[in-house]
């Protein structure tokens, strides 16, 4: 009975990692008051860029970097449209997803049917051989470690640095932040780029490690799940990590349960994270002081200097 626990945990880590990247990136972006609904598009473009470069140059490092750059590139378009041209953020984000899906299938057309060997896993003699904990803690690939690091990085940045304070201030009240001399546009653009790079990394993980091949639309809605996780996490990076693993865990455990012929309707299981999100939404909209505490007050509002 217990011999499947370890493989199940390893599978949960794989299933959760892309969500961690995308969700934590979006937490950062939304903290600055920007709502980018284009996560799915940035992820899928990251996936094809990483895969194409990985297959062409046979380098995992180059592949990962290109995935991040491609995600950031798409985010840059979003930034230009919403920050400089003041386009509606919701509409632009949706358009970005559609654009990303189209662009990725265009680039990916000649990569259908090719395979990538996958990412090398960390192996430290003795440590990786520790029963049970060894393969979980010391036997992952670089992107898994990077995803955990990104959570701590974003958390540290937002709550422990001066720049993080500025980002949050802009997210809460961009007019006030502007009036004391901060460039709202510049800060938001940087944050949007980082969020895009993180989404791109999430996509790279899909095409390099999770299922190392390319097929169109391979993100299959993970960008939207990440978006839901942000609300579920009430804009806290640590909780986004928790939410991603909860989501991945529920998905994998219900599959194992099916294999053991335990009948829990899979539809119920896979809708749990969404139900939790709705529940959290109900909670925070019931008590307005809580909303003020967490949700950035300027979320989704475009900034125009009023002078």
């Amino acid at each position: 009975m217990l011999e499947w626990v370890l493989p199940a945990i390893l599978t949960i880590i794989t299933a959760s990692t892309p969500l961690v990247f995308a969700a934590v990136g979006e937490v950062l972006v939304e903290k600055s008051g920007v709502l980018n609904l284009g996560i799915e598009g940035m992820m899928v473009v990251g996936a094809i860029a990483a895969f194409a470069v990985g297959v062409t140059f046979e380098s995992a490092t180059l592949a990962i970097i290109s995935g991040a750059v491609a995600g950031a590139f798409l985010a840059f378009i979003f930034g230009l449209l919403t920050l400089n041209l003041l386009a509606n953020q919701v509409a632009t984000g949706l358009a970005l997803t559609i654009f990303g899906l189209g662009l990725s299938s265009l680039i990916g057309h000649s990569y259908v049917g090719k395979t990538f060997p996958g990412l090398p896993k960390l192996e430290i003699t003795l440590l990786t051989d520790i029963p049970f904990l060894g393969p979980i803690i010391f036997g992952q690939d670089i992107l898994v470690y990077l995803s955990i690091l990104s959570v701590f990085g974003v958390s540290w940045f937002l709550y422990r640095t001066r720049w993080g304070l500025i980002v949050r201030a802009i997210g809460e009240n961009h007019d006030a932040a502007y009036s004391i001399g901060y460039s709202v546009k510049f800060v938001r653009m940087i944050v949007i780029l980082i969020g895009g790079a993180l989404a791109g990394l999430g996509g790279s993980y899909l095409s390099l490690a999770y299922t190392p091949f390319w097929v169109e639309n391979m993100t299959a809605g993970r960008g939207w799940i990440a978006l839901a996780l942000v609300v579920f996490a009430s804009w806290k990076p640590g909780r986004a990590l928790l939410g991603a693993y909860l989501f991945g865990g529920i998905t994998i455990i219900q599959m194992h349960a099916q294999g053991f012929d335990v009948q829990i309707p899979a539809q119920v299981m896979s809708s749990l994270p969404y139900l939790a999100t709705i529940f959290v939404l109900v909670l925070i909209s019931r008590d307005s002081s809580r909303t003020l505490l967490n949700a950035p007050a300027c979320l989704g509002k475009n900034f125009q200097p009023s002078s």
Binding site: A8, A15, L206, Y210, T211, E216, A220, M255, D261
Partner: protein, 362 residues
């Protein structure tokens, strides 16, 4: 406001270009054949194979035809809109290649009595709407025989999409065939409730292997389960397309949807004026279902068993659902010596004896 206006102009320009693409190429001579696809042509599965069928028409009939396809069409009002566009822009034969296009197809067909429609996997027909589908379970039978012979752990893992008759039929055909050559074989089923989500499909395959399966079968569209099997040193069967590239060692064979011959025939029928509304449900015999080359790792005696079944199905001496067949409760559903009727196959909503899992709750 200025920006709004320029954006508006831009979108108008976009529509004009699109419309030119649609109507600009109208010429009297070649027969225009249209296709609508549920997925992207690059899915390496269901839609990919339909597109191969479209390409087969072009290859076979050359300049006498002109084909158009629209991919990623949702099974909603959008389908009717796209169909209307195709029909009104001179397409005389239109293939609608997903079950969910059934009602939109019939609706649009009523408005365009001179256009012939071909709907895949549906059951509603009219004067200018035909239906067609493949007997994929015949391929499952051949695969099931190989699986029963090749498994060492006696566990076949099955990545299933939705509990609809088409998928249930595949599971039943597999286990009946596998148990006929190996009475100890069991089947483990994981429902992923999607046709296409590479990540989820891979997760299901991993879970099945972790629980002891050494042969993976799938009824989903992406090559992810095949790739997982290859990575873990297990065996698998390709689905819809030849997935050898993703599992050169793992793929024993693949059940291939081969629409080309039918598509070419129906196009010729329209050209010759002999097209009639009918239902086509064929498999290995007509080549609508074919098997990929057997992996060299399969022993000769197993290949012989598989080939005997394949040829038997083609000449009619073998039927994958030949009685006695019992359901899970042990009640006989097909009497000894009899064959399951097409009606029973099309509406199959029970597991046969040998499947240990409970039938998925509705």
């Amino acid at each position: 406001m200025k920006q709004m206006k320029s954006l508006f102009n831009l979108s108008i320009a976009g529509f004009v270009i699109l419309a030119m693409g649609f109507f600009g190429a109208v010429k009297a001579d070649p027969l225009k054949v249209g296709f609508i696809y549920i997925g992207p042509t690059g899915d390496h599965g269901w839609t990919y194979e339909h597109d191969q069928g479209r390409i087969a028409i072009e290859k076979s009939l050359g300049s006498k035809v002109k084909t158009t396809y629209v991919e990623k069409v949702p099974e909603s009002a959008d389908a009717a809109r796209v169909l209307t566009k195709l029909a009104s822009s001179g397409h005389k034969l239109i293939f609608t290649t997903s079950f969910g296009y059934m009602n939109p197809t019939l609706k649009v067909a009523k408005k365009f009595p001179n256009v012939k429609f071909e709907h895949a996997t549906g059951y509603k027909r009219s004067k200018n709407v035909s239906t067609y589908s493949g007997r994929f379970y015949e391929g499952r039978h051949v695969a099931g025989l190989i699986a029963g012979k090749m498994t060492k752990n006696n566990v076949i893992g099955y990545v299933a999409s939705f509990p609809i008759p088409e998928v249930i039929r595949g599971i039943n055909a597999t286990i009946i065939a596998a148990r006929s050559v190996n009475p100890n074989v069991k089947i483990k089923i994981i429902w992923v409730y999607t046709w296409f989500d590479p990540g989820k499909e891979a997760d299901a395959a991993k879970a099945l292997i972790d629980q002891g399966a050494d042969i993976i079968m799938q009824h989903t569209d992406s090559p992810a389960p095949m790739q997982v099997a290859e990575k873990r040193g297990k065996l698998a069967f390709g689905q819809a397309s030849d997935m050898k590239a993703f599992g050169p060692k793992a793929q024993l064979t693949a059940i291939i949807d081969n629409w080309g011959p039918y598509y070419v025939q129906r196009t010729k029928d329209v050209m010759n004026g002999t097209w009639k509304s009918k239902d086509t449900w064929t498999g290995l015999k007509t080549g609508m279902v074919t098997m990929a080359p057997y992996n060299k790792s399969i022993p000769a005696d197993v290949v012989a068993i598989a080939e005997k079944a394949r040829k038997g199905i083609i000449d009619g001496s073998v039927h994958p659902f030949t009685g006695p067949i019992k359901n899970q409760a042990g009640k006989i559903v097909v009497k000894a010596g009899e064959r399951a009727s097409d009606g029973m196959l099309l509406g199959m909503n029970f597991y046969v004896e040998g499947v240990d899992s409970k039938y998925p709750a509705k």
